[in-house]
Subunit: 230 residues, 2 copies
DNA sequence: TCTTGTTAGATTGTCGACAATCTGCTTGTC
DNA sequence: GACAAGCAGATTGTCGACAATCTAACAAGA
């Protein structure tokens, strides 16, 4: 018998599609932090009733990128410098754990997938697609979590990813600068292929460090002159 | 002007109450792992329409104690030995981080709260209320997370807590043994009050270790003869 | 006997309408 | 002019009914 190996059927509920649409809108900055989500307006735009929309919003609230106040509304989360700092220090520890756990499990499939994702980042960079660049970079980074063989660790990373993507997108959006041409992930990939685990951990920490420092500086600047959301 | 210091108004939506009810039912084992939640039946029992019930379920799905399959139903998550093991090793690392961050922030209020929660555990133990004992023990343990001053860390702990409570409740429920009389938290509290951070971290790890080992043994036993959920 | 097609029942997903609540403005009073 | 009460509009929360989908039982054919 031939091995079929089908992938799961796509979620065919409106709710799932709404979740995807909303998440994308938030993570790309189409919906600004603090902005209120008007249920009636959105449901009309999407040609959907409020029921599945509200369920979708409830999911995103639990996912941590929306916040809800009864009888007042649902809003995109505000981003403070402390939020970013908290995510940063938490991520550092998680990364060490993920690398430690994934390390002995690295195999050819791991290296292939690593190259594939690295290539995706480079492609997005060449295409000057900043949104996709952030997305692919996070996916590259997420590989060690997928390989660490720990469901809780992976789940936590995925939750954090949403917010990280939002933070970086905000940053990019604000600076509106062209994407750096040099490949900042070259060393990271090389170390993950190497034999020195501690070195990989150290680099992951320091590499993250740089990205976050910029983010933090940006966020701190924002808090001097707080702007109203939409 | 007198300092008011009011606590937040209770959530007055049905949805919030349904979430609380369902969560409690799951965490105390009233709803067994794998069991399906029939929307019509539950909504009739609670005298509520399906809309807020479904929204509540969506939240609990994101919280990780329910799982949903489109057009098939929503189920209480199954508990495998690996799930417990994953939670365990993740918790170890998180604990070290929490203690490290909370350590320099300990003050009189911290110590008071520590004693208060410790007292709550002892009281539940005396009352032979196993459910409450698990709950209070987790709250005692959660203090370091609340004090660590990191929103992401705290949030992650709270998410994990739900599942931990479920695991331990299942265990207790299965053994149906009287609660241990000796106070296993005495040392933990004493070390958190002391001056040796590494010792506190070490104890936290080893103390957790014992509880988890039992849990794991139980879960592994379960997997030899898997039982259908209701 | 095994497989395939059909059908009835139950359950989930979605919709449109109504009720409860909030917000801002107007009005009246001092 | 300041302030409280009350009203109108908009928005969220909830409800009951309908549509889409799944499951299991049954029948028909090879």
């Amino acid at each position: 018998m031939a091995k079929a190996d089908f992938s799961p059927i796509a979620d065919t509920t409106r709710r799932a599609e709404i979740v995807a649409l909303l998440r994308r809108a938030i993570l790309t900055g189409q919906l600004a932090p603090g902005q209120k989500l008007n249920e009636l307006r959105i449901s009309e735009q999407m040609r959907v009733s409020r029921a599945p929309l509200r369920e979708a919003m409830r999911e995103l609230v639990q996912e941590g990128i929306l916040t809800s106040i009864p009888y007042a509304g649902t809003f995109v989360i505000e981003v403070t410098a402390k939020d970013i700092d908290d995510a940063y220090s938490f991520n550092k520890v998680m990364d060490e754990l993920a690398i430690e756990r994934a390390w002995p499990l690295r195999d050819q499939r791991f290296f292939d997938e690593l190259d594939r994702r690295h290539e995706a980042v480079k492609q997005a960079t060449r295409a000057l697609d900043t949104t996709r660049q952030i997305e692919t970079a996070l996916q590259l980074h997420g590989l060690i979590y997928e390989w660490a063989d720990n469901s809780v660790l992976l789940e936590t990373w995925q939750r954090l990813t949403s917010r990280l993507q939002m933070y970086f997108a905000l940053h990019q959006h604000a600076r509106n600068e062209p994407v750096p041409a040099e490949d900042v992930h070259e060393t990271y990939v090389r170390l993950l292929k190497g034999k020195d685990m501690r070195a990989a951990q150290r680099h992951a920490r320091e590499h993250i460090n740089l990205d976050f420092e910029e983010l933090l500086a940006y966020a701190r600047g924002l808090e001097q002159r707080p702007s109203r959301g939409a």
